[in-house]
Symmetry: D3
Subunit: 174 residues, 6 copies
């Protein structure tokens, strides 16, 4: 059985890692979708899809299941989103999510969805992590070591701090 | 003479129906444009274009005028919006709107626009209706009966309730 | 039961009209999708979506079934095309087509498709009609009278003749 | 040496003019990029790219340096934004900006960026100017005379006032 | 009076230059639109919009009229093309073209169009020029000297020769 | 050192596999880009990005190097293509290609490119393979066994045969 788990992974952290471990107990293969793949260099989405591919791949490579890590660009058309996801990923049997819209879209398309009380808890951790990086507080122990290495390799903390003040090109030269 | 009246129709309600009746007194044929046609499954735009095509068509089919019901996808370029609308619709002589931007765009393009104090009153009814559905209050008597039938056929109330909490895919798996 | 029949309708002609009559024997309601809705002013696609909406609506309005006439913009992503069509149209139970790709896409999406030997015969009629218009030969008797009226109202024959030499903006000013 | 300076120029005002004069002391040729070129007819972005091309060209034409005035459409992909800008402009050696995101993107792409304390001061002047126009207060003495002429030629003040109430098409017909 | 003249200018050559001189006799200001602005690095469209902005600006800067040089990205929607062009350019009174589609689109939009037997002659010169560059034959004397300088500055001849064999990324790694 | 190798992989065959083995001798990690990721269900591009992700991943998973398999959607803007590729992939030091356009684009962006006489030989193998499938000739021994398994799992041969006659939706209902 193949499962699908989507996140923005900005960055991939221990909460994600924990979920992946739980899911892998239930499936043979796992597809990890990297959402909002086209976004980067904003406070909310600092890392490029490629940087996140690297983070996620390294963070799950010692797992026992075959994993696929696939960037998913936003389509801004909810009604075709499930088709879009499916066209970009190996065929999967079950999707994991607690996001009500994602759950609804998969259900309307006839895809089985599984949630868990755990999903909820992680909700704000991405924002919390990025805040810590901006203010120079401890963050490296909240992500897998391989992820911390990637963030250092790409000088990610500096990028986040630099764009914290303004992350909109449109503010330019008003 | 052919008239044009645009709305998002989320859903088509008695306020819209009333306007259509007024307009039909002034024109021979009426083009009903369904705005933001690509949006669906959000709190603000729960229904797909196709679902709204069905609602509007059934709500106006016993009228005496020939009507055209046409989905209009957003283009996010105000300067070409009038051309876009015109390319998607039968040629029309007058547009009906109270939205200041829509009025301005049509006027700059040399299209006659008519408003009415009535338009204003309906402004928040769409939001009000969706609120009622979410909280399980009476809503069916505010829309034409054929529209209520469509919403039931597609299980629309359940969809609105389910996505009321979160309607953004990007919130996924933070 | 609701059926779906898609065509580019450049223009809507007696072959299409004949098919529609056959389909209407099998369904209660018919959705007519106008394909390549964003294209116009080319030799192959001379008419805008709006002009075709007018042609098709008038050509089928005296039929006994409820009909919906919906422009469908190209998406250039075969894998999401069925979802796109469904989001733009009232829910349908069966699609009518002889185009192998369209048939395959609907089948992979689990939609019933019906074809007919008749469909094939009409294949080149659109091109033939446009050729006749360019060369000033008889064409009006190959389309419903209401369609001929629309083409005259919008001065369509002149447009086709004018762009017959070049229909690509990119040829400009080489 | 060629410099690049980007702004939305809604409208081009004396603050921009002052910056251009400073930059021209440091470079031989100056490329002026008009940002958010596709936006117009909103409170924040009232003027079309073409109107702004006219404003900026006339406001700098008596300068001693060769200037290029180039509309830049938004791409909404920060990671390719620098490439996009470069493909639309003559090759430049240094970019002028104080916007932290713009600075970061250019630096990651290996482009030299120069800022100045002056840039900051102008930040809200565009908004201030548009407010003055809406409320009928003096504004013409804050922009180059040629710019005031353009705004009058296109009846720009009236446009801004008309759309001040609502500048979203999506509000239509709720 | 302001005139508009569009071309792809791949590259800007003496035929274009000659036309510009003729037009400038009839208008006070001239807007030069650079078509297919998003295309580059193909046999047919070797130069970026920015490179062409530089070529055209330098080739016309000693003319007596005010000129505007504006890149126009393709929109692939003929029905909104005129609006798109207008939104990107200063308001113009007359368009110059011999391309039948362009003429038709402007006429349907109510814009005066002027042609000339001269336009026709230049039609294949762009292709001829690119062929000469590929095969190392004389080309520099067919373009304004400033244009030849730009092509040399950006190593344009080498680019054209290199991509002459294949100019499609999609051929990759079949 | 990290290398990048792009192909459409329609399907991934022994020629690709052979190249990957050669590249892996020179790099520590390999990024495999799946080009034209949005295309599928055509004669030339029968498989979805997701199906190809599965093929490629399984075909290289027993290799000794860390590999990343990343779909790359076409952007149709050569001038930003390299930035687009980089944003979707882990940072790489060298790109492998024999496609003249790809080589040129990477070189203009300052990326080292390596080719090999081997690349050329494989050029038509994808087309040859698809021809064999259409005509029911042997094909399975030209692809890795895991790839043949995937094609069978998704009933890929049938899809290719079905769309061989027409693979354009636009042909519909002419």
């Amino acid at each position: 059985m193949r499962g699908f788990y989507i996140g923005r992974y900005q960055p991939f952290h221990d909460g994600h890692r924990h979920m992946v471990e739980e899911i892998v107990d239930e499936v043979d293969e796992l597809v990890l979708g990297i959402g909002s793949a086209g976004d980067s260099h904003t406070t909310r989405n600092p890392f490029t899809a490629g940087e996140r591919v690297m983070m996620v791949t390294k963070a799950v490579e010692e797992l026992d299941a075959t994993t696929y890590v696939v960037p998913i660009e936003d389509l801004d058309r909810n009604s075709v989103w499930v088709s879009h996801v499916r066209s970009m990923t190996p065929r999967f049997d079950v999707a994991y999510s607690n996001n009500p819209l994602v759950v609804r879209l998969f259900e309307e398309a006839g895809v089985e969805v599984r949630g868990s009380p755990m999903f909820r808890r992680e909700v704000l951790e991405g924002a919390e992590l990025r805040e810590r990086i901006i203010h120079g507080r401890d963050w490296a122990d909240l992500v897998p070591e391989t992820v911390a290495d990637v963030i250092r390799e790409i000088d990610g903390a500096e990028r986040i701090r630099r764009i914290a003040e303004t992350d909109a090109i449109e503010e330019t030269g008003e």
